[in-house]
């Protein structure tokens, strides 16, 4: 009889532990998700908002079975607000995404241009690299070149620096909007790393 009672007791304890574990981990995942929603994923945020609205309205339904028209109107503009916010955020997201494309295109062109000017010395070895910080003005003219990381090989550093000096101007940035220019190209790093 004692054995049965002990087994029953442990079984209850185990079930309680499982229950708490489930609650704990479920809550954690919601927190993670909400953090993610706050920073990046706008679509999820909208779903979250909708979910919250739905939960709110459900609870209100339970408490007050009758919903007056005023409250209904209040909810509607709230939904519209969320939607507008969503559109705004989506627009920002789209702009960032479009900019990223443009930045990538310009970056690709700059890389190709400098590669056509870089005469790699024979002392260059795989794994060797040199970093240069470039400051350029709104017209794309390179105003300052600063070596951030030397390769340890004079000829390598010199050849890289010569390629940048010959390049002089990144004409592609003239068509960028001011904000994108400032963010990406007013100050950036060129890394020479032979493959």
């Amino acid at each position: 009889m004692m054995k049965w009672l002990t087994a029953l007791f442990f079984s209850i304890i185990v079930h309680i532990l499982i229950f708490f574990s489930y609650v704990f981990f479920t809550t954690e995942s919601v927190e993670n998700k909400s953090r993610k929603i706050t920073n990046v994923s706008f679509l999820d945020e909208e779903l979250q908002n909708k979910e919250e609205v739905r939960k709110n309205s459900k609870s209100k339904e339970k408490k007050q079975k009758k919903i007056d028209t005023k409250k209904a109107e209040e909810i509607k503009p709230k939904e519209i607000d969320n939607f507008e916010e969503y559109l705004k955020e989506e627009e920002i997201q789209k702009r960032i995404s479009d900019n990223a494309d443009v930045v990538e295109q310009i970056s690709y062109k700059v890389i190709k241009d400098i590669e056509s000017l870089w005469i790699r010395p024979n002392s260059a070895k795989i794994g060797m690299f040199a970093d240069f910080n470039l400051r350029i003005n709104r017209l794309g003219i390179i105003e300052n070149i600063e070596m951030k990381q030397t390769s340890g090989d004079n000829a390598f550093d010199r050849a890289a620096l010569n390629a940048i000096r010959k390049y002089k101007q990144i004409k592609y940035v003239r068509n960028l909007d001011d904000q994108t220019f400032q963010v990406y190209f007013s100050n950036f790093t060129l890394r020479f790393r032979p493959e």
Partner: protein, 417 residues
Amino acid sequence: MKRVILLFFLVLEFKADLVLEITESASKPVKIAILEKNSSSLIGQEIINVISNDLKRTGEFRVLGMDELLSIPINEDEVIQRDWLLLDVDSIIFVEVQNEDNNLEIAYSIFDISYNETEDKRRVLGLPDSLRQSSHYVSDGIYKYFYGIEGISSTKLMYVTRNSDTHKLIISDADGFNEQVLLKSNNSIISPAWSTDAKEIAYVSFENNRAQVFTQNLATGQRNLILSSRSSVSSPAWSPDNKDLAFTSTKDGNSEIYIINLESRKITRLTENLAIDTEPAWSPEGKKIIFTSDRSGSPQIYEIDVRTKLKRRLTTEGNYNARASYLDKDEIIFVHRSKTDFNIAKLDLGSRNLEVLTSTKNDESPCIAPNGNVIIYSTKDGNLSYLAGINISSKVSFKLPALYGELKEPAWSPFLR
């Protein structure tokens, strides 16, 4: 686009640190002009011609002729940067020659066009009769400035020539000029090899109607007989510390690889196989030797550890791979038969990537320049054999003047400093 890295990207703050990676380089030569500074002299022009030819031969420089220039400054102050930018010139080399009191002094400066200032200044001192050699040193200085590794214009070549029944062992400058005959014989001379300090050479001579390995001091001319055998002896190769010679001999019945200590004259047998083992070459650190063996049925390259005598086969592609040397500890070059042609090929021992370097047809005896960037080999065009070379980084090939009916077994000297 993997080479564009957005290291730091926050949507709300709009901050990004853009890193662009340049991984490929232009396959074009450095464009320069070489001008005499403050004067125009015959000796100056002669020196400029030597330097110009040295640099052109590498394939890594484009040296502008005087007729291509928009202006001819006589010193740095007269350089009009715009003229040179239009020509896309990288640098002007100003050469100043002083030949007084039995001393030759060549001062040179490298004027960088994009910086619009002198970046490097150096001097080479020599005797008046060393004009070509001194000029070669200038070429090497310029080469090192741009390409970061030592130039090889001031090094020497050794090779064997044969005209009818006369065999000669010759040393010349790396450009083929200034030949000096070290040995003349009516019998064959084979397998010349430089010691790693460039003070001595070794070769096999049949002058006494038997195969004899000699070493010869280049400064004194003194010859030492190291080995004498009625059986076949060939391919002496100096160990990196110059204490040993590896060689091939049939003294025990068939062709095997041996090492002889030059001081004690003790001979150690390295290989023991019924097949032919020949053409030994030391690894840069002196711990291993590569050799050619037909133990698998066809000539292939093998490597043996000198201490443990453990062997491994290095080449697997093709049915003829022979006469190997280490380019560095990770790469070897050798003669490789591709279809019907014999070419010089390079094998990466890590990636197993095989690259055929030459496009001539009957290539043999490849040897590597001390900077590891140029390979010279003998090749045949009809009945005429000559020396040809290829620059590994620029892939530019060149020919040395063919003056002999037969020219073979080139050996490139170490740096002569």
